[in-house]
């Protein structure tokens, strides 16, 4: 997982010219990630084949793709078909096969059996999986398949969210990896982050840890207070529990269960799905897609879940402490005084401010602890949290509050201080931890 920054503009231009990518086949084109990614490919690829179980389903995917990006270009570059009639022919012609089937190992494995037989030896095979292991998915396949197999993890919806993870298997050809990296950056406008083949890769590993901790806190504090405490003023556009409702409780469970089962890091307990969520998921509470999660709409009113009873109450009836410090922080953000704003947060008194600091300290501590495990440097985690989650990257928070203040916040929360952050605080170098020539750090601090 060498750093993507090693690709210079000149090298990117050379790589993009080094081979042609004129035909992409999307498998599972009726799913959200299938048609969203398919639409994205039509920006830069002259022919994109949408395949699904039936042609009618692939046509539905095409209609969704057109609706998502509102351009006639999509229809003129897409052909549709089904697995029974069209897969072998289309895959045989494809330069890139993009797999976006449901997140089920056996289903993907069966599909790759067919792809392996039909593909050209030089065809790249990419999976958009967010949870399954890249090495496991290509285990036992031919040399040429394993050399050309990789994870290309777009975030939903890909036409809006540019952050993208690129995951190599043990046998992926570095030249193939460099090519997909360069093509995705320069032709698809992606912010590319290379990650290791570890559970949930980088973005979901760090992001869902924070979301799940918020869900754990909601059992005692209630959803309204939690979303206020870990709200926009902490560096995100969308509050954590509203995010889980948007993503879907089932998806949330799949990600955190996978991480909880396969990892044993210093913050293991925060990745355990709260029991009340497991119980409610069994009853069909899956978030926005089922009309109810932490929040649900009742006409104009918003109803809020009581995690203990499973009942919903109008938001207006829920009492939340005043938390004046949040308004002070927001007002400073509003005027672009981000450093001063974070210092008000750091020095805010009361148990609730301390809880909020613990979540943010946990985010920073967890991210810096993952360096070397999920990415080579903090820069990769920073970029995927910024451009994949639209959250203030850990380094942006540290830069804005100061490295020593960040260390003290983590200590104050009773959490382990990552050695790399402690070292940066001790030496003062580098001056800025967040390294990106063009991302404005201020964009992540929302005053709402």
């Amino acid at each position: 997982m060498s750093s993507t920054d090693s690709l210079t503009p000149t090298r990117i231009r050379e790589l993009v010219r080094s081979r042609s990518l004129d035909h992409v086949v999307v498998l599972g084109a009726n799913g959200t990630m299938g048609y969203g990614s398919g639409a994205l490919f039509t920006q830069a690829v002259p022919k994109v084949t949408f395949l699904a179980r039936t042609k009618a389903k692939a046509d539905e995917g095409l209609a969704e793709a057109i609706g998502q990006v509102r351009s006639p270009t999509v229809a003129s570059r897409v052909e549709t078909g089904d697995y029974d009639h069209d897969l072998e022919r289309a895959v045989g012609e494809a330069d890139l096969v993009f797999e976006a089937l449901t997140e089920d190992f056996a289903i993907k494995k069966d599909m790759f059996d067919r792809v392996e037989k039909a593909r050209r030896d030089d065809a790249i095979v990419a999976t958009v999986t967010s949870g399954l292991s890249i090495n496991a998915l290509c285990d036992g396949r031919s040399d040429s398949f394993r050399k050309n197999f990789l994870g290309l993890h777009f975030f939903n919806p890909p036409n809006v969210i540019t952050g993208t993870e690129l995951i190599a298997g043990d046998d992926t050809d570095p030249a193939v990896l460099d090519y997909v990296d360069a093509f995705s950056r320069s032709r698809l406008g992606r912010e590319m982050v290379r990650t290791a083949d570890t559970p949930a890769f980088a973005g979901n590993r760090v992001g869902f840890k924070v979301l799940n901790e918020a869900a754990q806190l909601a059992e005692e504090l209630g959803p309204v207070l939690v979303d206020r405490l870990v709200g926009p003023y902490t560096g995100r556009a969308l509050t954590p529990l509203a995010t889980i409702d948007l993503v879907g409780w089932d998806i949330h469970r799949a990600i955190v269960d996978n991480v909880y089962e396969k990892t044993s890091d210093e913050a293991h307990a925060t990745n355990e799905l709260p029991a009340y969520m497991a119980k409610l998921i069994e009853k069909g509470v899956l978030g926005n897609k089922t009309g109810a999660g932490f929040f649900k709409r009742d006409g104009k009113a918003r109803l809020v879940l009581d995690p203990v009873s499973g009942d919903y109450k109008p938001e207006a009836e829920i009492q939340v402490p005043a938390l004046g410090y949040i308004d002070d922080v927001a007002q400073l953000h509003r005027q672009g005084r981000y450093g001063e704003a974070l210092h008000v947060f750091l020095s805010a008194e009361g148990e609730h401010a301390a809880i909020a600091r613990k979540v943010i300290a946990g985010y920073i501590s967890y991210a810096f602890h993952r360096v070397g495990e999920v990415t080579d440097t903090i820069n990769g985690i920073d970029r995927i949290m910024g451009m994949g989650f639209n959250w203030a990257p850990p380094s942006v928070l540290v830069d804005a509050m100061g490295k020593q203040a960040a260390v003290e916040m983590i200590e104050g929360a009773g959490l382990p201080v990552p050695a790399n952050l402690a070292e940066a605080a001790r030496t003062g170098a580098p001056e800025h931890l967040f390294e990106h020539p063009t991302i404005n750090p201020g964009r992540f601090f929302v005053a709402g």
Binding site: P9, Q43, S71, P72, T73, A330, Q335, P437, N440, V446
Partner: protein, 411 residues
């Protein structure tokens, strides 16, 4: 300009034009703050060094319910308290007018280091309301009142005038749009860099690309943008000191070699009537371009390595092409057709993506153009760099070709 009174451009900072500061719940002052602090950091200038500041802005009173913008500069840093500041307005040319004022003060020897901030926050209101605000850049009562989106219609008429005098095919306008969007994909600060746009879409003449004013379609329009740009202008004395401190030679610091500035009558009809016997549709714009070249000692466009021009609509870029002298009057289509305007073409136009691709925060545009010219001639424009560029020219236009300002920047 007299020897010894050159105006040097040290550099500056542009905010990401894709940001929506209303969605971030940010006040106008945050936008100014990020641009100025960004410029101080990028140029490695200490705040205490700044002696005066000029703010270019079109209509913060309308968009943000805020006037007295020069005073907001003092809010950025404690060292700025007490500095002489002011605000300049000339519709979409406001940023360039601020640069002219700052340059004049340097030439007069009043100050050695000036900050110029171009700024506009536009996403505070609906498209229709914003369209009406922009109508105040025309003669509002005569040309804009009661008209939905008056400016696309005015610039549609510029296309009509070309059509009448010389003939104009819409496919060339679509090609201008396509080029600006393509270039914007190379510019990490461009508003449209991730938009779904390609040649086929820009050329499309269906509901996916609806007409908004005569021959002007959505893909022909510049954007509604929140953005600010800050640049530092310096006297020769300061630039010498600065270059030394940065380990550079003075010759490596770009200079504003020439400027042009004209104001035509407000109403589009009056401008066109005045030019009925002229080879140029907007002769005052032509004069702005040529006077800047003349002051820079450049005979014609062959002495320019690239242009950042005012493509508020594709028709304004179409007009700029012959007004710069890239082609004979009325033959702009030839340059479009031949690919001369591409980044690696004979005379690259809007490598940044221009107002269509990079975005158009009205009062910031002129300053953004100057900063992009600076980036080009210092070889720091990244993916949209015009190879080997030594001299760039800008053209910034307020109203329907009313106030025009042009700068030639060279190293």
């Amino acid at each position: 300009m007299a020897a010894g009174s050159e105006v040097y451009v040290l550099g500056g900072f542009q905010t990401d034009f894709a940001r929506n500061w209303t969605k971030e719940s940010k006040h106008f002052s945050a936008l100014m703050r990020e641009s100025v602090l960004g410029a101080l950091e990028t140029c490695e200038v200490a705040p205490e060094e700044i002696e005066s500041a000029h703010v270019g802005n079109f209509a913060a009173e309308l968009y943000c319910m805020q006037g007295h913008l020069g005073a907001f500069f003092t809010e950025v840093h404690p060292a700025f308290s007490g500095l002489p500041t002011g605000r300049h307005e000339a519709a979409c040319a406001s940023g360039s007018i601020a640069i002219l004022a700052a340059s004049a003060e340097i030439e007069a020897g009043r100050y050695d280091l000036q900050a110029v901030v171009g700024i506009e926050q536009m996403k505070t209101v609906s498209a229709a309301e914003g369209g009406a605000f922009l109508g105040t850049a025309a003669w509002y009562e005569e040309e804009a009142e009661g008209i939905e989106f008056p400016f696309p219609k005015l610039f549609g008429r510029l296309g009509d005038e070309y059509d009448k005098r010389y003939g104009l095919k819409d496919e060339y306008l679509a090609e201008i749009s396509r080029l600006n969007y393509d270039n914007a994909k190379l510019n990490p600060n461009a508003q449209t860099r991730t938009w779904y746009m390609n040649k086929e879409h820009a050329l499309c003449r269906t509901e996916d690309n609806p007409a908004v004013g005569g021959r002007i379609r959505i893909a022909d329009c510049s954007q509604v943008t929140d953005g600010a740009v800050c640049v530092f202008l310096a006297s020769r004395d300061y630039a010498e000191k600065y270059a030394k401190g940065m380990g550079k030679k003075l010759a490596e610091i770009p200079v504003i070699k020439g400027w042009g500035h004209n104001t035509a009558r407000l109403r589009f009809d009056d401008k066109v009537a005045e030019s009925s016997d002229d080879r140029y549709v907007l002769p005052h714009v032509r004069s702005t371009v040529t006077s800047a070249m003349k002051r820079a000692g450049i005979p014609d466009v062959s002495g320019i390595d690239g242009i950042e021009t005012h493509d508020c609509f594709t028709t304004s870029e179409y007009m700029a092409i012959d007004h710069f002298g890239i082609t004979e009057p009325g033959e702009s289509w030839k340059a479009v057709d031949a690919g001369w305007l591409e980044i690696d073409g004979k005379i690259p136009v809007n490598p940044s993506g221009g107002l269509i691709g990079a975005g158009h925060p009205v009062g910031a545009t002129g300053v953004r153009q100057l900063l992009d010219a600076h980036k080009q001639v210092t070889g720091t424009a990244g993916d949209y760099q015009v190879e080997g560029a030594k001299t760039f020219q800008t053209l910034n236009i307020g109203g329907s070709g009313t106030t025009s300002v042009s700068f030639v920047v060279s190293r």
